[in-house]
Symmetry: C2
């Protein structure tokens, strides 16, 4: 059974999931290599190959677990974490572990196996982001859970295994380290200045404009000051908003517009790069926060850049964010 | 010119190095794909293709920058960081940057282009680790520098660009985040218990033996409690030793023996995996420390495991360290 283990020195948590070991023999793919087949369980008409859906946007007069959906959320067939597990915290000598409580879900983004993310219409992307919100709201009711990680891996280099367009959701009884650090950094800043650090970043980026790629009435797309990857982008709400799950449909439509523009520009300039997209939002137990600010991070994974970062926490990026923003601003869609 | 930039939220530093951009078009390789050619500047007899050597182990009666060396350290031909740069710390609006002061060096591990790391004799590996120590001692004299990162990338998946066996050195005017976090975690532990956390880990691993792969009189090779990668290994001195640069020749010979055994077992079990090897030692301004403990980390990079960790700081590892240690203990060399 899976468990969470804490590194006693640096405090990061790792899921040790021996059930996943069969993955070792899974052949990897390049996007586009897996044609829709009788076997793809994410394709329309193959609903019986998956667990029963948790949420869907469907055409009128269609039935649960049958074709007719546009976005469909299902539990992972082989979840690493399970809600049935009892939350147990245990010391093992000097070490700490926590039982594998949580949830793994898959957000199938479209019934069309070959659809490209940046080509999904704004209304369709909006439904995907509403599905994220609805699943977070539902999981938040379980007070043993502390966070929901939502992310999308596209392409082999970004860690994707399935070709059919989808995002993943992992609900956790502990906070991911990156979120702990962001919340701590944001709080320290607030304690000194009584201002949200993200709001200050937005203010500065709107003034400088050097790293600004796109803006609409609700969102900025920026190339951040210290990106770990070339062409990394943040999509940040302009108004102070700590909690993703509090977003209105209208706001998520603006988000969809910003993501579509950002992804279309990346696809044009970098020829459809492999990428990770990660939602950063505040911990479940925070209802409102003067210092944190939810956002999306898009991390293109250009194979030419990799290395020793895992051991050192040190990154080398050969493209300045100002250059990246300049390329992307000029990319005409 | 390169510069260090600090992420204002989570505090990590990134080197932004636009000079490196030509790397974008560099064709990648699988180890073994680059045969020794007239062009490999790391091969014996090609010394004139590199900058002048900073350190070498050579056969008697051979001359600097000519053949006859066994291990040779040279400055990087196109360094990202340079010692000639003046140390400047600058605020840019809400942001922080530091000038690209530092050094990039290459430790050419053998004149033989096709040599395999685990097949290098113990005496030869010892000379590589002495070369690390000598370069750290030399760079430590520059009091603008705070740390030297030494690491080895083997294979495309691990970020290597050159096929000829080598390690890399980056001297920095700031501390890498991973080292800051380890030092902080170790100090917190010491403040509570007045014991070194690494010494306690060693004590526990020697008692449990479940995660112990190999031991000699000076070192343990362990599969750590919360590894981020399958078959990750730590090589830790058994006695309390904070500063790598204080190691005796004798101790580094024991280290070489431990690394050779660890790498031979990994090569046998995982069929010569791509890997990163990273030296973790204490910051330059700490001469002695009751709480930190230098060590090597070996991170095999099995392509089947990748993903969203960059955005989340969250890791999923399908192999328990107990299983990995068991496989490796049983691998007969």
């Amino acid at each position: 059974m899976a468990e969470f283990r804490r590194d006693p020195v640096d405090g990061k948590w790792v899921i040790i999931a021996p059930e996943r070991r069969k993955r070792f023999s899974t052949a990897r793919y390049e996007p586009g290599q897996q044609p829709p087949t009788e076997q793809c369980p994410f394709c329309a008409g193959k609903e019986s190959l998956t667990p029963s859906e948790l949420f869907a946007f469907r055409d009128p007069n269609t039935k649960k677990d049958q074709a007719g959906w546009r976005v469909r959320v299902i539990p992972n067939r082989a979840p690493i974490l399970r809600v049935e597990v009892e939350l147990q915290r245990e010391g093992v000598g000097y070490y700490d572990k926590v039982s594998g409580l949580g949830a793994n879900e898959v957000i199938i983004e479209t019934p069309d196996h070959n659809q490209v993310y940046s080509k999904l219409p704004v209304g369709h992307l909006t439904e995907i982001y509403i599905a994220y919100r609805e699943r977070i709201r539902d999981l938040k009711k379980d007070n043993r859970l502390k966070y929901v990680l939502i992310f999308k891996n596209y392409g082999r280099t970004a860690g994707a295994v399935m070709d059919h367009p989808h995002s993943q959701l992992i609900a956790l009884p502990i906070l991911p380290k990156q979120i702990v650090e962001e919340m701590r950094g944001a709080k320290d800043y607030y304690d000194h200045k009584e201002r949200c650090i993200f709001c200050d970043i937005i203010h500065q980026e709107l003034e400088d404009r050097e790293r600004l790629v796109f803006e609409n009435k609700d969102f900025l797309v920026i190339s951040p000051w210290a990106p770990i990857f070339p062409f990394e982008l943040w999509i940040v709400p302009i108004s102070h908003r700590p909690v993703y799950a509090d977003s209105s449909d209208q706001l998520l439509r603006s988000l969809a517009e910003a993501v579509k523009t950002a992804m279309s520009k990346l696809d044009l300039v970098l020829e459809r790069p492999h990428f990770n997209l990660v939602l950063h939002t505040v911990a479940f137990d925070v209802d409102d926060s003067p210092d944190y600010h939810w956002h999306f991070e898009i991390l293109p994974r250009l194979t030419e850049v990799a290395g020793f970062e895992y051991g050192s926490g040190f990154y080398i990026n050969p493209v300045t964010p100002e250059q990246a923003a300049d390329y992307l601003r000029r990319a005409e869609l």
